[in-house]
């Protein structure tokens, strides 16, 4: 599949993860999120931005535990838990938020 945005085509795999992560931009994130029935608010962006920063340093999405700890620091303990992250990204913070952040899908027994 592919996303059409501002007159350009961004290729994605069968599940909607973009194949060239350098083509990601915030408008594309909103478009991908729409396809997932997710409206991007400040908290969702906090997660997506953290994922992108983490990926830039470590070349992989963070473990769920690392993510919740980081969100706890930035948004407070009532939001730094997996329950809240699943409210933001019902299909799982790792997979769904990665898709929106333009990052590869975590694979394996996860």
């Amino acid at each position: 599949m592919a996303y059409e945005i501002n007159g350009t085509t961004v290729e994605a795999d069968e599940e909607g993860y973009i194949t060239d992560i350098s083509l990601w931009n915030p408008e594309l994130a909103v478009l991908i999120a729409e396809g997932e029935n997710i409206e991007m608010d400040d908290d969702s962006w906090e997660v997506v931005n953290f994922l992108r920063n983490y990926y830039e340093e470590y070349q992989i999405a963070p473990a769920v535990r690392v993510l919740t700890k980081a969100i706890k620091k930035s948004l407070g303990p009532e939001k730094g838990n997996s329950k809240y992250l699943y409210e933001l990204f019902p299909y799982g913070p790792a997979k769904q938020a990665c898709k929106i952040a333009g990052l590869p899908k975590p694979t394996g027994c996860v």
Partner: protein, 520 residues
């Protein structure tokens, strides 16, 4: 959320009404050329796929007496028909083990038996047409290779072997499965299924050390790539990433700490899983297993311990020595390899761990036997150890434990629904439906005996249950790791215990065991 019907679990298990082609639409994404070629398979369906497939089939028959016997010996007695969780969850007759086997058997008869060559219409023999190949791809990816059916087959026909052979043939004609083959490529390059590089692994482990220190006040290390230590821990990479897996990893670290043994994780062999078993490739299985041998030799360890991973333990226990042995450089006084449950159990038996069962009093546990541990391996030195040892650990750590119905546990255990390379989002429908027999057994003990949580010792089972349990009215955190229970209960030397009244520093029994308690 699901756009398919969730099977009802409010009635006892019964044989479903047949629903022809109910799951014909369900087949996984096909591997891209880059995923195929990385493993030495053709990138896409080859032109002469039919003859190539029959050649490969013939080669497998000549190599595996088991496959030959399985092709020849079915008498259509029907004992297996209602034993597959995917059949019970879907009613699709091609999910009856005998019918799944017959997808391959009819091609076998046509090409490898005299009667099938001469009078195919009399003996149920068929050519490998495009339609048959599609059926193979669809229905051999609706088998989790759990081997429950083989327990009830009077001839012991193992559908897992047949499904592995079918996938091996399909890989060799360019029709591989994306999920398994992409992951195997990552293991070869990065060392684990997740694609977790060394730097990220190191960061994750440091983070866990901080968490343990915050929680207990004790410095517990999770060493990486440390040479000259006693033990190499090989664990599924999901243990570094997902919940509740990571809580189990914390449990292993606490047990090693309390045992006083030196240990390490390897970034080169940062994966216990061996998905090559799922695709039936001995060559790939050898390459993945070889990484573990190399890591053990490079690090100079004396022992290898495996974390909570079902099929990894089958490969380790049953095949590893044949594939990449002998392991004569390891200490012969210990099992080669050893399961983390054996390690912990030996310490418990020796009285070397202080376990506060009340730490798990907020839960009533049951135990899900993972198929590859239950039916493909063993633990300890007694028959049935793979059933008794995990339960003994749970009972040593928890006051409340209840087993599920007898015909759904131990050697008769139902698969979680996500094993055998099916734990992928594109197969969520078959995964969810296939989980229904286990969910039904769980519901029974939840309602009748107050069970609140189910423990498991397999990364696939844990991920599968946390994904599908909400579809059945449970919550995703009702699945826990066995070593998560150990982690909750274990009292480390010098640990600060949160008492209701006041903080006390325990004087836990000091162990001088050094973990030197071998399973005979």
């Amino acid at each position: 959320m699901a756009d398919f019907e969730i099977p009802s679990i409010s009635v006892p298990i019964e044989i479903p009404t047949l629903n022809r082609d109910a799951m014909k639409h369900s087949s996984p994404f096909i591997a891209a050329p880059k995923h195929q070629e990385a493993l030495g398979f053709p990138g896409e369906l080859v032109d002469d796929w039919q003859s190539k497939a029959i050649d490969k089939f013939g080669e497998l028959l000549s190599k595996s007496r088991a496959l030959q016997v399985y092709m020849d010996s079915c008498v259509k007695c029907g004992a297996c028909t209602d034993k597959c969780h995917y059949f019970l969850g879907t009613g699709d007759p091609k999910n009856m083990p005998v019918a799944r086997q017959d997808l391959m058997r009819k091609v076998y008869r046509r090409n490898f038996t005299l009667a099938g060559k001469l009078v195919p219409w009399l003996v149920g023999a068929e050519d490998l047409t495009e339609e048959v190949l599609d059926d193979w791809y669809t229905y051999f990816h609706q088998c989790s290779q759990c081997r429950r059916c083989s327990v009830y087959c009077p001839y012991g026909i193992d559908t897992a072997e047949i499904s592995m052979a079918a996938r091996e043939i399909m890989d060799h004609i360019g029709k591989g499965q994306k999920y398994c083959n992409e992951i195997l490529g990552k293991v070869h390059v990065i060392g684990n299924n997740l694609g977790l590089p060394e730097k990220a692994l190191a960061h994750t482990l440091e983070d866990l050390e901080e968490d343990i220190e915050d929680e207990t006040g004790v410095t517990v290390k999770l060493p990486l790539n440390q040479k000259g230590v006693d033990i190499l821990l090989v664990t599924p990479s999901a243990d570094f990433f997902a919940e509740p897996h990571v809580d189990g990893l914390i449990g292993y670290a606490k047990v090693f700490h309390q045992a006083g043994v030196s240990w390490t994780i390897s970034s080169y062999a940062s994966e216990a899983a061996n998905f090559a078993m799922f695709i039936g490739s001995v060559e790939q299985m050898t390459l993945v297993a070889e990484r573990i041998r190399k890591a053990a030799q490079d690090l100079g360890v004396k022992r290898i311990v495996f974390g909570e991973c079902g099929h990894a333990w089958r490969v380790a226990y049953s095949f590893m020595n044949t594939l990449v042995g002998p392991f004569d450089f390891l200490d012969p006084d210990y099992p080669v390899p050893q399961h983390i449950c054996e390690f912990t159990y030996d310490l418990i038996e020796a009285g070397a761990l202080t376990l506060d069962k009340s730490a798990n009093d907020h839960m009533t546990l049951t135990f899900h036997d993972s198929c590859n541990v239950a039916r493909g391996s063993r633990m300890g030195n007694k028959p049935g150890g793979q059933f008794e040892i995990p339960r003994a650990i749970i009972k040593a750590c928890c006051n409340n434990f209840v087993d599920m119905a007898a015909d759904t546990i131990k050697e008769g255990t139902f698969c979680c629904g996500g094993g055998g390379g099916l734990l992928t989002d594109d197969l969520i429908e078959i995964r969810t439906k296939g989980a229904s027999p286990r969910m039904r057994a769980l519901k029974e003990v939840v309602e009748e005996q107050g069970v609140t949580h189910m423990a498991a010792i397999c990364a696939i089972c844990k991920s599968q249950f946390s994904k599908v349990m909400p579809s059945y009215g449970f919550s995703m955190d009702q699945i826990v790791s066995v070593h998560q229970l150990v982690s909750n209960a274990i009292v480390l030397d010098g640990q600060v215990v949160d008492d209701a009244e006041n903080d006390v520093v325990t004087t836990a029994k000091n162990t001088d065991s050094n973990g030197d308690i071998a399973t005979a």
